[in-house]
Amino acid sequence: MFDIAESFRIALRLVLSGDPELGHIVWLTLRVSIASAIIACAVALPIGAWVAVSRFRGRHAVVVAMNALLGLPSVVVGLVFYVLLSRAGPLGTFGILFTPRAIIVAQAFLVMPLVAALTRQFVEDAWLEYRDQLRSLGVTTRRAVPTLLWDVRLSLITVALAGLGRAASEVGAVMIVGGNVDGVTRVMTTAIALETSKGDLPLALALGLILLALVLALNAAAYALREWSARHG
């Protein structure tokens, strides 16, 4: 049996002493999560906004599909990308399986539905309010997309932070396509899974504490932004 209090003490010491192994894992996690969140936003923000302002046949089906993608099982996404990126797979020539790039690709794919669905909701709400005014000014649908995205920009920062949180806390797909290679693709979540199964609870707990703090900080930032925007219009 292990001593919980003792584990916490060691975990705190690891965090406070700036353990290099721990530092590397945290740094890699931040790097790949930020990169995947940026890619996901670049793709999903325009898609979400476009679906919000467009009226076409089958739009309802698209909206339902977008919302359904929110529940995409990450292990399945990992498996699909594993097959695609493996040597014999169609994208095997890139040779990025078991590298941080593979993690970025899989995470970006997992974050996209979240960003697209939330963006569609925010932009559509704004569009309902602005539609007549924008049409009166002669604004085309194509022009309305960037205008609306810019107008709900504060909400979109919240969306981006939510995407970053999802990327950082993702484990299933990252484990499969990254391979949890020590010093190369070991991120916080996969390290926690590994250390826990090995029984090295202090390191797992230290990583868990940092991950929690990170997610808390992201949510606090999102909350502060909402408060600020409510005061500043």
Partner: protein, 237 residues
Amino acid sequence: MASPAAFTLETKALGVVLGGRPVLEGINFYWDGATRIAVLGANGAGKTVLLRALHGLVEPTTGSILWNGSPDRAPPQAMVFQRPVLLRRSAAANVEYALAVGGVARAERRTRARAALAGVGLADIAGRPARVMSGGEQQRVALARAWATEPRVLFLDEPTSSLDPAAASEVERVMGGIHGAGTALLFSTHHLGFARRAADEVLFIHAGRVTERTPADRFFDAPRSAQAAQFLEGELP
């Protein structure tokens, strides 16, 4: 007052059905912009839908709207809504946005936006975020935005309805300036005093139909339709 704006607007048996309910029926209307028109009528009579249809925001279900004799020769026009819808940027940027959409060159936008905001008395706070301004200020930004695009025709849907008396009279003053600069005005309102002062003619709508069109100086004392008489009796103290 205004130089005669060179356009004609004609509706022929205009009808609008929204959600299965007829909102406007058999509207025959001719206007050359020489007179300022106030559209009066009870809530739900169809005033807003009429303005939106004329402005092109609502498709006619039946009949036609002809500008200069054609469905697609509408002159430059703008509309000010009951509740102003401003973008989350400064008042000046809101006006400049409308000018950019209208294809005005970047260099010209700033000067025209500044002039329009000065015209509505907001030059000092042109840099402030539009969305945190008071209701009256927001409506004046909306007026400046419409004005800056130099429309031939300006539709205003109850522009003073949500404003206090001081803000309403400021809007009325600005409307006078816009009309004086040569823009034709057609507005709906519930404020009878405002209609009496700011309009040359009254178009009275009851249950989606025009019951009369009368010069403003006669309408308030001697309306010709029974519905208008009843309306005035109910509205006036």
